[in-house]
Symmetry: C2
Subunit: 472 residues, 2 copies
């Protein structure tokens, strides 16, 4: 039966697009962090939505599970198959056409396999901004961004991937094609199918194409680093910028002293230009469509007000694009510095801004008292309430040994604090395999049952990325 199934796959896709040899399959079987690996009956490389519909129909008939995959840059193992070798991978990289750019409507229609950076570039060619931007943009694909509702650095102004999407094309668990590729800002024709598929990580349907919003390109951006003593002042500073600069505010990133100390250890050329490595370093970016003078003046006015109110103690404004980039690189290199330092425990969480100060004080205190010497590498998109609250072992302690003993209780301590503060245990990285159990424990019984009901209704055979996000 297995060989018959593979023959039928080859009939649909042609020989070169069904990989069955171990060497050919290998690059598709591990996740980016090398935390998860699996086996697969075959890797399939479809080019059209019709081929995908046929594959799903064939899998439904044979009860074979499908793991959809984009650039497989995810953090949570959502695109890695299990170890049975009975699942197939459906990688969408060949489905990478930009179908249309509609300038008057300010939309782009593209296929799931488009690489994010290529989409940004294509939009910029036409004088538009495609605002989604994140570390993996050179290799992640728009299908994966939609499947995980990816966040990134522009969420503060432009929202998550969900907010950028107007319409979808999806292959259902029956192998039917839903063409919902409409570029409309208002459409109340019934239930919101689009948002149900977005963020479902391929467990309810396979996203094959989308209509996304475009925005006018800003003509000037100014970036600054400010030194600040407390989270309380940081929130006041954010609120000040929200009030004065409103939608010109496109970045508000926080880095703790400990994060930047680690950064400097591994990347000495990325030292903090602010004197004395302050408790919190905030990166602020304003983007403007009027003039360089307008935005620069606004930035200076608000910073002055912040100085006078005693919110900040120091500030450095980037003099040119290259300095602005170096500020952003400093922020982005924290993740790499952590990787250099060794394995660490990641927490991608959101806390309401009003509870952030309390969350950090309380969680830091508990961590330091229960795990003396532990390093709290806390940084993130503070403007969205999104922290990457990561834990590295005390200096000199072997990370693997430390994690083996402490991973679970540390996750539990932090997630309990998140729950107390009405936050989220999964902000922008998704659930996948990594947080399947955490989600079950923290989602709440009613919501978790609703999720299972939806999964059973839309994928009754459980063939779409089973045991990711929710198990039925």
């Amino acid at each position: 039966m297995r060989s018959e199934f593979l023959e039928e796959l080859i009939l649909i896709l042609g020989h070169p697009n069904v990989l069955v040899d171990d060497d050919d399959k290998a690059p598709y079987l591990n996740d980016w962090r090398k935390r998860y690996s699996g086996k697969a009956l075959a890797i399939t490389l479809p080019k059209t939505v019709q081929e995908i519909a046929q594959i799903v129909q064939l899998c439904a008939k044979n009860q074979i599970a499908i793991v959809p995959q984009g650039g497989h840059t995810g953090f949570c193992g959502g695109a890695t198959p299990d170890n049975t070798g009975a699942q197939i991978i459906l990688n969408l990289k060949r489905m990478n056409a930009i179908r249309e750019i509609d300038k008057a409507n300010q939309t782009i229609t593209l296929e799931a396999g488009c690489i994010l950076q290529a989409v940004q570039d294509k939009a910029a060619d036409q004088d538009f901004l495609f605002p989604l931007s994140l570390g993996a943009e050179g290799s992640c694909m728009i299908g994966g961004n939609l499947a995980t509702n990816a966040g990134g650095t522009n969420v503060l102004r432009y929202g998550n991937t969900r907010d950028l999407c107007l319409g979808l094309e999806v292959v259902t668990a029956k192998g039917e094609i839903w063409n919902g590729l409409k570029g409309l800002r208002k459409d109340n024709t019934g239930y919101d199918l689009r948002d149900l598929f977005i963020g479902s990580e391929g467990t309810l349907g396979i996203i094959t194409a989308a209509v996304m919003k475009l925005y006018p390109l800003p003509i000037s951006q100014w970036t600054t680093l400010v030194a600040i003593d407390s989270i309380e002042s940081t929130i006041a500073l954010l609120n000040l910028f929200q009030k004065r600069a409103t939608s010109l505010l496109t970045g508000f990133e926080m880095m703790t002293q400990e994060s930047l100390t680690l950064n400097e250890k591994h990347f000495p050329h990325m030292a903090n230009p602010l004197q004395g490595n302050p408790p919190y370093t905030i990166l602020i970016e304003l983007s403007d469509h009027e003039s360089e003078e307008h935005v620069r003046q606004l930035l200076e006015t608000v910073l002055e007000e912040a100085f006078e109110a005693g919110l900040i103690s120091d500030a450095v404004i980037a003099n040119n694009l290259s300095q602005a980039n170096s500020f952003w690189h400093m922020r982005e290199h924290i993740t790499l510095a952590q990787a250099e330092e060794g394995a660490n425990l990641k927490h991608d969480i959101t806390i309401p801004l009003s509870s952030l100060d309390n969350f950090i004080k309380e969680t830091d205190a508990q961590m330091r008292s229960q795990y003396p010497g532990v390093r709290i590498i806390n940084f993130g998109h503070l403007g969205d309430g999104n922290l990457h609250y990561n834990i590295a072992p005390p200096l000199g302690v072997d990370p693997k040994a430390f994690n083996l003993i402490h991973e679970k209780p540390i996750h539990e301590l932090i997630y309990a604090q998140v729950e107390r503060c009405h936050g989220s245990i999964s902000a922008e990285h998704g659930v996948g395999q990594l947080k399947l159990e955490d989600l079950r424990a923290h989602k709440g019984e009613v919501a978790h049952e609703l999720m299972k009901t939806l999964k059973r209704a839309l994928d009754p055979q459980n063939i779409l990325n089973p045991h990711k996000v929710v198990s039925i």
Copy 2:
């Protein structure tokens, strides 16, 4: 059994909150346009989410259908019961507490029965803008706004009701309470339950409370009317404002010559201040957080550019708030002028901006050739691609007689054009009873089947607002 059921209802809510006398029930049984009326076993007036959960449990046990109701200002009969007298109405007006305003987080947590204008006022008291704004705001309720994903005049800048909502509290068809009241900008913990309930018009669950976004109050607004010759130039003007003024652009409304002629007939004091009643009159509003001078200068610069590019032939900038209000009143009175004129055929549609010119030319031509003398009262939120493309009979023809014969074929003609242009037959008013059949005909088979699957899964007994939006 019926009297036993009523007794149990009274046990839950107390006597005064279960209306069974015809006189008491009457105000709840008709819709605002007097297009739909129904009967009800009882009107229930709960005060808490626990009471609502108990009512739903009781109804589930007795298989009695529930029609949730807010300010019942809807256009589509979504909150009106059927004629069997076997359904109960669950009116949420007593559940009208504002539970919390979180200033640092810029959110408001409120109950479904809050009147929209009261929410706007409460936000303004705290120096915040709650941007949702629509004609019925003096009596519509936030629960109904969420249930229908209401639009209005601020969508261009702030999005639909869906985009303003961060979290929900919902009573499910089983009578369970889902507490999803989180005020987070990023939360990827599983499927997007929130957006599934928003816009489902009470057919999948009953929305009882929500966390909504607040924004800083603008400090200056400038409103202008411009005269324009074609839709093509109108779109170019919109794109120009989007590029130069970006998020300062908060209103872009279109009124045709024919709409304003009708307006002036019934409200002579609302004559168009632009000379000669041009083919298209566009109302443009900019809102700024910097200064009056800044926004006024920006508006003048962009208008100058538009003159030079030959896009507009005349412009009047409001000199003061009262004149700005009179411009908006002119726009808002078109609906009232239509009501004065007699029954008319309404179409609340969206068209991609790039197809709008073609849609209007083609549809106008077909209407005028097939129905000579017909008046096309076309106006709306053009910035969102949202037209209220309404049809009045030729002068002197009785509207009721005209509609009796032509209603169905006119709807079909217009919806066929909408479909050809990849538009939506329901932009911001919802589906309810009015568009149930149209939706079935125009949604597409796969999407409509998905909707039925969701309805069956989440409300298997079909007790939540049955035969609204979708029939199973």
